[in-house]
Each structure stands twice: as C-alpha cells, then as structure tokens.
C-alpha cells in the first residue's frame, strides 16, 4: 500500500519550494477543521484541539502513564522485531526459492485478507491474557505484508544486474552486499513502513482485548466510560508517534531512491 510517485509532478510548471512548508499548512488546516467540527458537534462529542492537548499533557504527566507506555512499548518492540525480521526472513526465502514462493504466495494473500478480527478469540485462547497475546496480535498484523514486500523485492531483482556482477567476478558476499541489498532495500523499507503501522495497530488491539495495562487498555477504559477527551488525546498521541516514524522511514526511503519526488 505504499504510495510512490513515478516522476516529479509539476504544478503550473513548477515544483513547490518545500514540502515541509506544505505539510505545515496542511497541519494548520486540519487543526482549524478540527476546531470547527468541535464547535458544531459540541465539546462533549468532539473535544477541541486545545482541550485535547491539555488532556494529553495531563495524561502524560500522570504517575501511572509511564507504566502504561512502557507496557505498550515493550510489547510493541517485541512484536515489531518478530514481524519485521520474521517477515523479512520468510519473504527472502520465498523470493529466492521460486517454487516455494509460488506455492506460498496465494496462501499468504488469502491469510492476509481474512479479517484478523476473526482470529482474535483463537489467539486469546492460545496465549491467554497477557503480554504474549499482545505480542502475537501485533506480529500477525505486520508479518505478512513485510513478507510479501520482501518476496517481491527479491523477485524484482533485475537479471541484468546479477549477470553484470558475475561478469565482474564478484564473490557471493560481494554480490550480496553490493547488488542484492541495494536492489531490494527500497521495497523492503516500503514493507517496513506498512509493517510498522500495522504492528502498532495489532499491539494496541491486543491490549484492548487482553490486558489490564497499556495504552490500549486505557483506550478501552475511555471507550466504556465515554470519556471522549481521553480517547482523542490518546488518538492524537498515536497519530503523532506513527506519523513521526512513518516520516523517518520515508526519509530513509528517499535516501535510498536517491533522486526525484517529495
């Protein structure tokens, strides 16, 4: 689902000065829209931006927050390692072994399209309530897309590059470092971006169903008590974290593409 431009796009013959400036504009526009919606629907339904910010500050400075954040953080980190590394290994293996890849791909795609929602009770039954369930939730959300992207990255290595490498009589290790890695890295990073967001989602959902601690748990509490301010504050926190990580990975992505866009 990563979006990439094929060539630099021109608006009236000019590329805009700076995307950063545009993002700032967009951010301000969204803030204004948010405030307007809050006025229309009323502050109990949609908390206004300043009130949300204050609520978030209150939540973060509360003594129990560190505990919750740590809880979510460690589960997420573990899930991320599993989905990124696991997905990478599976994807690479399937990419290099053609028959295995051909057999596995439709299965993976089918698994991916099953609403993982339907597997939640099974996960809960297998892992019980607690950290391992959360990690499992996170991992199952992220691992398949990462694997699919990695598999495609390997398949898309151009035969010409490999032939040129062999013509230059490079060793296997040199080929791996100087040809395989640069050729596959952009697409693998695209897979990581998606995997990051989905793993975070999975971990949070796991917390909502299977835990008494963590940010997901805080969300469920807020939902049950209809505490809109907390819901929005936490959503804001999550959006900020995910957007920052996505932006960082995007920068990495461009460093690898070298030219064009953004």
């Amino acid at each position: 689902m990563a979006v990439t431009l094929d060539k630099p796009t021109r608006v009236h013959g000019r590329l805009p000065r700076s995307v950063g400036f545009d993002r700032l504009l967009l951010f301000l526009a969204l803030l204004v829209l948010w405030q307007v919606l809050s006025w229309i629907a009323g502050p109990e339904v949609i908390t206004s931006p300043p009130a949300t910010a204050r609520k978030l500050a209150a939540i973060i400075s509360a003594p129990d927050f560190v505990g919750h954040a740590y809880e979510t953080g460690r589960a997420f980190a573990a899930a991320l390692v599993i989905s990124l590394l696991g997905g990478l290994v599976i994807g690479l293996a399937l990419g290099f072994r053609r028959l295995a890849g051909e057999v596995a791909e439709p299965l993976l795609v089918a698994l991916y399209s099953i609403p993982k929602i339907t597997l939640y009770p099974v996960i809960l039954l297998l892992f019980g309530l607690g950290v391992s369930a959360k990690i499992a939730f996170g991992a199952i959300h992220g691992i398949i897309p990462v694997a699919l992207f990695a598999m495609n990255a390997v398949r898309n290595i151009r035969g010409g590059h490999l032939r040129a490498a062999r013509a230059m009589r490079l060793t296997h290790l040199q080929i791996a470092i100087h040809v395989l890695v640069p050729a596959t890295l952009p697409e693998i990073v695209a897979g990581f971006r998606l995997g990051f967001a989905l793993t975070l989602l999975g971990t949070l959902i796991g917390e909502m169903f299977a835990s008494q601690r963590g940010i997901g748990y805080m969300l469920v509490q807020a939902m049950e008590t209809n505490d809109t301010a907390t819901i929005m504050a936490l959503a804001l926190l999550l959006v900020t974290i995910a957007t920052t990580a996505s932006w960082a990975l995007l920068r990495l992505d461009h460093g690898l593409h070298g030219n064009e866009q953004h």
Partner: protein
C-alpha cells in the same frame, strides 16, 4: 492443476488433517481449539438452526453499505489527490500512518453523532476502507501511461470524454484492487466494532460465544465468516484473472 497449485492443496489438506488428529488425540486442549470437524459441525448447526441468520444479514448489510460508501468516497478522494499533487505530497506520511490508529476507538463518538443504530458501525467500516480505495485510485491515475494522455489530446477528446473513455479503463486494474481491499477492510471495521460495543451482528455473537466458553458456536461462526470472505475473494480473483488475462494486464 499446476504443480504449485497441487502442492498448495496438499499443504492445506495436511495441515487440516494434522490439526484434526492433534485435537482428537487430546494433544490440544478442547477449551482452546476444537477439531476442524467440530468447527464444521458447529457451522452446519448454525446454518440449519437459523438462529444467527438475522445477525448474519445485519452484519452483511452494514458491510455492504460501508463498502459502497468507501468505494465512491475513496475514488473521489483519490481523484482529488491526483489533481492536487501538493496536497498529496503533504499528506503522504499521514496516509501511511492512518492504519496505526484503531479507528474503531471513535465508536462512542459515532454513537453520539448517529445514534444507537448500525450507522456508527458503517462509519467505522467506511473509515477503515476509504483510504485503501483512495490510495489505489491515486496510484491507478498516476500509472496511466503518458502516451495515452497524449493520444486523448491527439484525438481531440474533451476532458470528460478522455476521463471516461481512456483514463478510467486504464486505471481499472488498480480500481479493482482497491475494491478488493475495500471489501476486506469493511468487514474488518464492522466486525471489530461489533466485537467491542454492539448488541447484534456476527462480531457480537462471536464475542458472546467466547465469553461463554461456547467453542463450537464460536468456531462455527468464525468458520462461516472466514469461508464467506475467502469465497468472495476467490470469486473476485477468478473474475479478475478472466477479465485481464487476455488484455495482458495482471
């Protein structure tokens, strides 16, 4: 059947048989997982008893509505982003992080806005699915070969005609992918909502069965759901293959 297809069939069949044996031999606790045959039996009983027909129809109705809204809305949004590249570039990190937030946390918000009916669930399904459609629409428009655009001008087509006769057919494969994703995500959104805070629908019944340790019903419902979604996906896949194979597009 191709070699790969045959191996695939074997793998799945063996997996099911192994699970069946493991369950029956008592290696797996029946409180956790029941044998596949038990799941199938549970599913059959559900269909026959008709107890859950109303829930099933309710869920399917909400999913269908969410999907249709997401397809239309996502297409429109994708087209707007295509025509406004500055907006699209500015929005990029936000689009990628959209899926990190479980959108069904806004369910209480939607209840207040729309009332205590199916609409909040539809809204969640919509929110989950619309971005996938928008992204695929955008990619589709971007990937129209420039030579086709020049051809439209060479043939002196008006802008609306060019859009309908050339751009849309050229985008069709991507739009189709978008529709597939919309269906999957609408299901996820609606059912997730039903799990968490709803009194009706398949999601609710699964959660209810889970809470009451009623494994046959729970697995039966899950099996029905998975079968339905998989069946739908396969149908779409077959259509897609048949439609696009001769046209050389995959």
């Amino acid at each position: 059947m191709s070699r790969a297809g045959f191996i695939r069939f074997l793998v799945v069949a063996v997996a099911i048989v192994v699970l069946e044996i493991a369950c029956r031999a008592g290696l797996i606790d029946p409180i956790t997982i029941i044998p596949p045959s038990g799941m199938a039996a549970g599913a059959w009983k559900l269909i026959v008893s008709g107890r859950y027909t109303e829930d099933i129809l309710l869920t399917l109705g909400s999913v269908a509505l969410a999907a249709m809204l997401a397809i239309v809305g996502g297409f429109g949004l994708g087209y707007c982003l295509f025509r406004l590249p500055r907006l699209r570039r500015a929005l990029d990190p936000l689009l990628a992080s959209y899926y990190a937030v479980p959108t069904f946390i806004f369910y209480p918000l939607f209840i207040v806005l729309f009332g205590l009916n199916r609409l909040p669930l539809v809204a969640i399904g919509f929110m989950f699915a619309v971005i996938a459609m928008a992204i695929n629409t955008l990619t589709g428009f971007e990937r129209v070969p420039p030579v086709l655009r020049r051809t439209a001008r060479a043939l002196r087509l008006s802008a609306p005609t060019a859009l309908v006769q050339i751009t849309m057919p050229a985008c069709a494969p991507y739009l189709f992918t978008g529709v597939k994703l919309v269906i999957a995500y609408s299901f996820i959104g609606v059912i997730a909502g039903e799990f968490v805070l709803s009194g009706a629908g398949i999601g609710h019944q699964i959660a209810f069965a889970y809470n009451n340790f009623d494994n046959p019903t729970m697995y039966g419902l899950m099996l029905l759901l998975i079968s339905f979604v998989s069946g739908l996906n396969m149908l779409l896949f077959v259509w897609e293959r048949r439609f696009y194979r001769r046209r050389g597009l995959t």
